[in-house]
């Protein structure tokens, strides 16, 4: 197995290259800050990206469009419950995870009971979650408890705490996909759901747990992001819809399902953040930044597809 044949190497190389290019501009100053920011913001993208990856692995048509709404709703309700009081961090976490679990259950119920295509089910549900968040938030911005904010912005062994959380989650997901029976079931379901069912794979169990996982991951990401940025905002999840899909694909997972790539998601998450900061430090205008980001995403997809062309 040569290194270049690993699909994740590309997203990591791209991330490293953009890092060097950005640092090059400031001749080495600010490397630490940039790495800190990339790891922190990358962690949020990676957490939702890992969830989205599981869903996309389920096969064509599977994607969760409710991630932003779930993030926002989980963060809003968690911060409201904590009400900035000390010692409530754990309670908030539980609430955020419970919101994620509830959203996942609702999404899956729509998919299973109403036989809706997942895109439509999660889209329709996300509109409702969004309304719920607006209704419960009422435009107030509640600060996270002091110790939680400190945790979310702090570091351990010079790596941001949120990145540790993202890394731990990635390791768990990686082990589950590579080694566990459930992981095999997921990959089989993604290749051919009918064949998997006829081979005895409990496909509905697999689908249910996958949709629950992505929402729980989104709840966790929302909780951490709100704690990190000093409160929940109604549009806080907006960019993570496209981001979560982009990092999965740039990371080398197959959009057709049945094939996933955990390290690639992290590489792609870092890369996506670094591209923006690189363009920022080169003083690009907002429009140019978007155009370049889009072009890079497409270029990477083209590169990845021509490379895979020979299998």
């Amino acid at each position: 197995m040569n290194l270049l044949s690993k699909p994740w190497i590309w997203s990591w190389s791209a991330a490293a290259l953009t890092f060097v290019l950005t640092i090059g501009l400031t001749s080495g100053r600010g490397a630490g800050e940039l790495a800190y920011a990339a790891l922190s913001f990358g962690a949020f993208a990676a957490i939702v990206g890992l969830g989205q990856m599981l869903v996309i692995t389920l096969g064509p048509g599977n994607v969760d469009l409710s991630i932003p709404a779930t993030m926002t709703l989980a963060a809003t309700l968690a911060l409201k419950a904590m009400a900035s009081m000390p010692g409530t961090a754990l309670l908030g976490l539980m609430i955020a995870l419970a919101v994620g679990l509830g959203a996942g259950l609702a999404n899956y119920a729509l998919i299973f009971l109403l036989r809706l295509p997942p895109i439509i089910a999660t889209l329709a549900a996300s509109l409702i979650y969004q309304s719920l968040a607006i209704w419960s938030n009422r435009g107030l911005r509640i600060k996270p408890p002091q110790e939680l904010a400190e945790f979310a912005t702090g570091r351990f062994l010079s790596i941001p705490n949120v990145a540790w959380v993202g890394l731990a989650l990635a390791v768990v997901v990686w082990i589950v996909l590579e080694r566990s029976v459930w992981g095999r079931w997921l990959l089989a379901t993604g290749q051919n759901m009918r064949a998997a069912r006829l081979a005895g794979v409990p496909i509905e169990f697999v689908r249910a747990t996958t949709y629950l996982s992505v929402s729980v991951f989104a709840g966790l990401a929302g909780y951490l992001l709100a704690s990190f940025s000093g409160g929940a905002a109604l549009n806080m999840g907006a960019e993570y819809l496209l981001m979560s899909i982009a990092v999965v694909v740039i990371g080398g997972s197959s959009i057709a399902g049945g094939n996933s790539n955990v390290p690639g998601v992290w590489g792609a998450s870092l890369f996506m953040f670094l591209v923006i900061s690189m363009l920022n430090s080169y003083g690009a205008a907002a429009g140019a930044k978007n155009v370049l980001t889009g072009t890079i995403v497409i270029a990477i997809v083209i590169a990845a597809s021509t490379r895979k062309g020979r299998i």
Partner: protein, 309 residues
Amino acid sequence: MNALSRYRILLPVVSLAVLLAATFWMQPRAMSYFGLNLLFNLAVPIALATIAQMMIIMVNDIDLSLGAFVSLVACITATYLLDTPALGLAMLVTLILGYAALGAMIHALELPAIVVTLGMSFVWGGLALFILPSPGGASPDWLRTLMTVKPPFAPMAVVASILIAILTHFLIIRSGIGTVLRGVGGNTRSVARAGWSVLKLKACAYGLAGFFGVLAGMALVGLTTSADANIALRYTLLSIAGVILGGGEFVGGKVSPVGAVIGALTLTLAASFLSFLRLSPDWQIGAQGAILILVLTARLIFSRKGGET
């Protein structure tokens, strides 16, 4: 025509009728030329965007960039098309050709459309910001006049929607080329075997999507009289919902232009409906989601009953 394909168009019609009846029941004054005009005010651009999305779904792809694209068109319409019509027109034509090229590229390189269009949404959005960094611009007068014309019997939005539905029905369902395009969604290989260039057909479908996307952006400016770079971002999701609401399916080339237009009208109405309920505007977005779920539940019940008999 068998029962199944008839159901596909029946349900969107019934759901629109039910929603409309509920609206009239709660607010009888809406049952007038003026009331209808108000209810369906923004229906035309949404219907056009839904038709654009339908072109892409017809060939088994999905377009996540449509909202950004319509916004970009709106920005061009409110600036270049107003000041230098020739240049503005050239830009719009280029955009349509760009869409066709995008379709060709997606097919030739076997790229996942969902990701490419995702990337394109950044590109269109960026270009729109470039053209119109802050909200502004104005609608060309002829466009404003066209969009606010008052035809006899029924308001502009309704008449235009019916026209769009009829024209696209002939284009996609009745015509030979439309049949072949749907064939691409149904079984690409057999279309290729019969000697068609799937590359050209996909480019054609995307080009049509671009064309209707351009029309949507122009219609939007004609109604709102100004534009901004984010004006139509929600059209991406609305258009997908509209196609599905109208009886379309994500794969297999099963689409219905008439249904798509009706789906778009239903979604437009869903947003206006709440204001009659005197519910807090917090729930406006949620209502669209709820109506989507309701209609699709009805579809499930109908198709189950259809399957039993």
